[in-house]
Amino acid sequence: MRDSRALQAYGLLSPSMFWLGMFFLGPLCIVFVYSFCLKGLYGGVDWREIGPDGTVSYLFTLENYARAFDSLYLKIVLRSFRIAASTTLMCLVLGFPIAYYIATRAQKMKGILLMLVIIPFWTNFLIRTYAWITILRSEGLINNMLRGMGFLGPTDSLPLLYNDFAVHLGMFYGYLPYMILPLYSSIEKMDFRLLEAASDLGANQVQAFLRVTLPLTMPGIVAGSILVFVPALGDFITPGLLGGAKSMMIGNLVEDQFLTSRDWPFGSALSFILMAVVLASLMFYLRVSGTDASRAQK
């Protein structure tokens, strides 16, 4: 009985396990191996050398990883971390009131508002990011409007595009729904009578928020932050389109190695460093917020 159940479970899981193994784990292993190889002359990788006498020697190097810690690249890694972290914080601070507002509406209104949050997904991310260019550029919507209203001279324009500001804005816009949805679901689950109880026991609104709302919605805060931080850290579309030369992020760097510089091994090493950064940040984050979140779920 138990065996047949286990068998059934494996049967149901095997397609997805096959899929993940074949198209996720497999490629990951390849990238991992590449990261220790040398760059091929025309792209690709060299992993062995055939000497003039026909002897084969295998190449293995840590050079790619060492290179990543060059201050030039380290700066890009740190900047990526900074931009992803501040985007996450921005999404959290501005997303929380929105999620709270939606969660406290009547049932019918909730559906409509959630729909509005999801609507941007109907359009491709790339196209939505391009749309920001037409809004922000010097001949764009905002600058034209400001010139039209006389706030700017006819040849002046605000530097809204191709800088960190534009990257932040684009990311905030793109990832906000990923923050709002998990926040909404944990706020919606909260028993609002607990806030009355807190108030009854002498807590003002700030105290009630910090001691009741915040810990009880921690699962949503954690989930939303991860959903924003992880893709933001590896994002290359937003900084590529909206960022300037100085807003390059690790995602762009990886992209460059594969598409422009033809340095697959270095790109692979950077990818693994990115993964390590993500993993380390997540573990740190879960440790800091984890105790509260797991308790609140009881």
Binding site: D200, L201, V212, A296
Partner: protein
């Protein structure tokens, strides 16, 4: 009575929701140290009244005084009032200790004092040793006690209890009723209790306000409410009663005479406001009626009928008697040591009851 200081006073308090009145022109005085209950069916405005005292709702008009001071503008967190919520509303992410300590922490009580008072409160509700547990690990009755400890530990001037026993099973509820009453005696705090359970209200209250449709029908001690209901609603809502329809035919200082719809004349307790000609409902409690084989004397009310149903309940027997042209009368007889005088079989009987047990209520 008037020299006892007031704990809570409501002056012409109204609460409107959208276009309907939840509470209408409530005038009420609750004395210090009193166990006061609001009793009524759901939607009668009792919980709204409690929530206005607690500060969770603002009255649309009127005045609420706590210890002699108006408190309408004071937010809930600044009122010296604590609530035991119907749902308990324990903080699920905090230990029992932290739940109980919450109020004191908010008021900035020193941590050594917090510890001492919290432990004492937990001891009071017999939950010593539960400090480190989480609310999710406790039974309903235990959570109820935590909610109680969390409220009384703040030494409020008034403790509000919103159907706190509603979620408990009958046996536990009875035990908690007695405990609550004892606790109130020990603490000397004013308890304001909301319930829809008339038996519960009678058991634990010093005074009861019976509410219906946003208005107070009657305020009085459990005895007054039960024995001398002032309206048909109160007589009907509290306990079981027999209603006999009729009209006043005679009125004196000691007696009221009511002619029933089927022609019998009842002698009823006097009522100064009821003049001959007024349509009334006479209420007689079933346990005040006896079944006798022959017509009772002239000082008593007696009506002939046929025994319709006998329901044996162990400690008591209920009889249902059909009056020839009138309604059915319910009679409760306690099964005591003395043998039952009433007939066990169906047949002609007389129902007999004293005039002072008959209440004439305006229709």
């Amino acid at each position: 009575m008037s020299d006892v200081p007031l704990s809570i006073e409501l002056r012409r308090v109204c609460k409107r929701f959208a276009d309907s009145y939840a509470v209408e022109n409530l005038d009420l005085q609750i004395r210090k140290g009193e166990f006061f209950s609001f009793l009524g069916p759901s939607g009668c405005g009792k919980t709204t009244t409690l929530r206005m005292i607690g500060g969770f709702e603002q009255p649309s008009s009127g005045q609420i005084l706590l210890d002699g001071r108006p408190i309408e503008g004071t937010p809930a967190y600044q009122r010296n009032v604590n609530t035991v919520f119907q749902s308990y509303a324990l903080f699920p992410h905090m230990s029992i200790f932290n739940n109980v300590a919450f109020g004191m922490k908010m008021k900035g009580v020193a941590s050594s004092e917090i510890r001492e008072r919290a432990m004492h409160a937990l001891e009071t509700v017999k939950l010593k040793g539960f400090e480190t547990r989480m609310p999710g690990e406790l039974s309903g009755g235990q959570r109820q006690r935590v909610a109680l400890a969390r409220a009384i530990v703040n030494r409020p001037s008034v403790l509000l209890l919103d159907e706190p026993l509603g979620a408990l099973d009958l046996k536990l509820r009875r035990a908690m009723q007695i405990e609550l009453k004892e606790l109130q005696h020990r603490l000397g705090i004013t308890f304001v209790f909301v319930t829809h359970d008339q038996e519960e209200a009678l058991t634990i209250s010093d005074r009861i306000a019976v509410m219906s449709q946003g208005r107070i029908e009657q305020i009085g001690s459990p005895e007054e409410i039960y024995e001398a209901p002032r309206s048909r609603f109160v007589a009907d809502f509290i306990g079981t009663t027999n209603f006999l329809q009729g009209a006043v035919v005679g009125s004196s200082a000691t007696r009221l005479e009511v002619q029933t719809e089927w022609g019998a004349v009842l002698k009823v307790a006097p009522h100064p406001d009821l003049k001959p000609g007024v349509q009334v409902t006479v209420s007689v409690r079933p346990e005040k009626i006896t079944l006798v084989p022959t017509a009772p004397g002239p000082g008593e009310n007696g009506m002939e009928g046929t025994l319709h149903e006998v329901i044996y309940l162990g400690t008591a027997t209920h009889y249902i008697v059909q009056l020839p042209q009138g309604p059915r009368i319910t009679v409760f007889a306690q099964n005591g040591v003395a043998p039952q005088t009433a007939p066990g079989s169906r047949g002609t009987v007389y129902v007999a009851f004293q005039p002072e047990h008959c209440r004439a209520l305006e229709r």
